[in-house]
Amino acid sequence: MTVEYVDAGEAIDQGDLSGKHGTAPPVVENVTYERILDARSEPQNWLTYYGAYNGQRFSPLDQINTENVKGIGPAWIFQSGTSGMIAGASTYAFEASPLVVDGVMFVSGWDGWVWALDAKTGTEIWRYKHATPFDISLCCGNVNRGVAVAKGKVFSVTPNAHVIALDATTGKKIWDKTYGDVRAGESATVAPLIVKNMVVVGSSGGEFGVRGHLDAFDLDSGEHVWRCYMVPKPGEPGSETWPADGQAWARGGANCWLTGTFDPETNLLYIGTGNPAPDFDGEVREGDNLYTDSIVAVDADSGQIRWHYQCTPHDVWDYDSIAECILFESGGRKLLGHFDKNGYFFVVDRTNGELVQITPFVDRIDWGNITRDGKVTPARYPDKEGEPVHFYPGPAGAKEWTHAAYSPETELFYVPIQDVGATATRRRREFKESIPYWGAGVQVDIEDMTGYVSAFDANGEEKWRWRNNLPMCASVLATAGGLVFAGTPSGEFNALDARTGELLWQFQCGSGHHSSPTTYSVDGRQYVVVPVGWGGWAEGFLPGMLGAGHGSALIAFALPEESPTR
C-alpha cells in the first residue's frame, strides 16, 4: 500500500523563526545628502561611517563625560552567533561601525548579515542575509565594516563583491550589483559612503594580485556611474612607475578597502589605497608603483584622480595606506591627517596634496626612514630570495585599518597603535588568478610587542600616551564629554580622559575588540555602542592572540536611567 507523503509545505525565511521580526519606522526616508553634509548637527544620530564626512569620529554628545563615565554599564546586548558552515569560520570578526537614525540602528556583521535594531533596547527589527559562497578568497577574514543609509535605503557590500540596496523599513532587497570578480580573488569588506546621489564603494583582494578600484553607483537605480582604477594602464599617467614590459600593472593591487572621507568644498574624495602585489617581492614590479600606498584625491563627479601623495613608494612591507584621511583645519589651511601603516603621521594640504609635515608615531621603526621633507630611504626589506629579514612595524602596520579620532575641542588626534614586528622571507612565485600572491613567507612576532593609545597635535607632538601590554587593534571614539573610548584585544572597553589619557572606566566585554564604536542618543539618553568579536587577520596584527575566543556581541553602554548626574 502506498502511503501519501505528509505535506511539509514550502521552506520559510529562517528569520521568521527568530521571534523578532517587524518593520522599522521610515526614519531613513528623509536622510539626504544635505543631512549627511551637516551630520554633526544631529548628535543624537550617527548617519555615516565616520559620523561625518570629515572622518573625525567625534561626537558632540556630552551626557557621558569625565565626571560620570565611571557609572555607565551595559544597557543592552545583541548577539547573533552563527549556524551552519560559513566562509572563514575561524577568522570571522565583528568589525562594523553601527549607524543610528532616530532610534533605529543599522549594522552589518560577517558573512553577509545586515540588521536593523531598536537602538533603545537592542531588539532586532529585521535582518538581511546575503548567501556567501564558502570558497571565496578572503585574505583577512570574513568581515564587513558597516553600512550606509540614505533615501529610505540601507547600502551594504557583500563578501562576494556585490553592493546591495535594502529597504530600510523591511530589509528587503531593492537592487543588487556585482562590482568585483570573485574568480580573480576580489571580495568586498568596505562600508559604503553616500556622496550626492551616489553610493561609493571600493574593492578588496590586494593579496591576490588584482587591480584595485573605486566605484560609484546611483542611489536610486543602482546604475554604475564611474569606476576609478588605482593602478594605471600602460600609457596612462603614473604608468611610468611600473615596468614597461609585462603585466605587473594588471596585478598591481592598490585596493580601496576602507571608506574614504569627503570635502564638499573641494569636491574631492580622499581615499587611502592598499599595498602593491606581490606584497613583498618588489623585484617583479620595479618603480614607485603608483597609486599603491597612497592618499588619492578623487573628483566626486567624474571619478578622476586629481592629486596623490604616496606614503610608501615601492612598498615591500605590505604597508597599505588605506587608513582614514581625517579632515581638519589649522592655521587657516584645509588639511588632512593620516596615520599610515608605515609608522608615520602625514599631514597634507587637502586642496593640492602638498606635504605639510611628517612625524613618526610609533617607537620602533626600522624598515627605513622618511625625512621631514618626505624623502623615503628603505633600510630593511626582503630583498634576497630565501633570506629572512625582520622589520618594524610588521605588515599590519603601526596602525592597521582601525581608526584614529580627532577632537575639534582638544585639537588632538587619538591613535590606536600596534608596536609589533615581523619577519619576511622572499619566496618568488608565479602569478595565478585567485591564488594568494605575496611573494614571501611571513611570520609576525608573538613576543616583544606592545600597544598604546597616543594623543598627537597637528604638529605631530605626542601629548600623552596610555599604555597597554598588547597592541591596540580597534578604532577609537572621541566625544565632547572629554572622553576617548578604546577597546583592547583582550576584551576591555576603556574610557580615557581626552586631555590626560587617564583611564577612567573599564568593562570586560568577553572577547577582543576589532571594530569601530559609535555613540548616539534616544529620548535624551546617550549610548556608546561597540561591536565585539575577535578575529579577522589576527595572524597579521596580533598572532599572540590567535587562540583567543571569538565572539559576536553588540554591546550598548549608558548611564543608569535614574542617575542623578544626568
Binding site: A8, I12, H130, P133, A184, S434
Partner: protein, 155 residues
C-alpha cells in the same frame, strides 16, 4: 593507501566505511554521496529533487550543481523513519523547512555565485552524521564586474 581514479575512490570509501552510517566513523563523511546537476527550465529557473533515504542520514544528491547563478527550486523528500529538517542558503535569508518522517516539501532559493554553499539539517547533530550537502554555482561574474586587464593565468 591513496586512490588514483574515481572508481578507486568509490571502492575505498566503501571499503573503509566512510560512505555509510556507523561503519568507519560514527556518521557518514560529508559529500561522499551523489552529485547531480540541476535542470534548467525555459524561464531560466533551475530545479532538482533531493532525498533522505532510510537510515542513511545523508542527502541524495550530496552535491547539487547549478549551471549558473539564479533561482533554484528544490523538491525535498524525507523517506527516512526519523524527523529531519533543512536549512538552505538563499539571498535575503536562509530558508528553513521541517521534515517529519515520510514528508515532502519545497524550497525556492536564489544564489548568485560563482562558488559553493553548504546546506544541512540543523537538528541534533544531523550535520555531523552526514546531512550536510553542497550547492555549487558554476559560471562567471557579469562582464561589467570583471577587471579591465588582459586575461590572466589560472591554476
Amino acid at each position: 593507501m591513496t586512490t588514483s581514479s574515481a572508481q578507486d575512490r568509490a571502492e575505498l570509501l566503501h571499503k573503509l566505511g566512510l560512505d555509510a552510517q556507523n561503519k568507519g566513523p560514527i556518521g557518514r563523511v560529508i559529500t561522499t554521496g551523489n552529485i547531480e546537476q540541476a535542470k534548467e527550465r525555459e524561464d531560466g529557473t533551475m530545479q532538482i529533487r533531493l532525498r533522505i533515504h532510510p537510515d542513511e542520514i545523508a542527502w541524495d544528491p550530496a552535491v547539487i550543481v547549478m549551471p549558473h547563478g539564479g533561482d533554484l527550486e528544490i523538491e525535498i523528500f524525507n523517506d527516512d523513519l526519523n524527523t529531519h529538517c533543512a536549512l538552505f542558503p538563499s539571498n535575503g535569508d536562509r530558508k528553513f523547512i521541517w521534515l517529519v518522517n515520510h514528508s515532502r516539501g519545497r524550497a525556492r532559493l536564489n544564489l548568485d555565485g560563482p562558488g559553493y554553499y553548504w546546506f544541512s539539517s540543523p537538528t541534533g547533530n544531523d550535520e555531523g552524521r552526514g546531512l550536510t550537502g553542497a550547492i555549487v554555482v558554476l559560471g562567471d561574474v557579469p562582464p561589467e564586474a570583471r577587471l579591465d586587464r588582459p586575461e590572466q593565468p589560472r591554476p
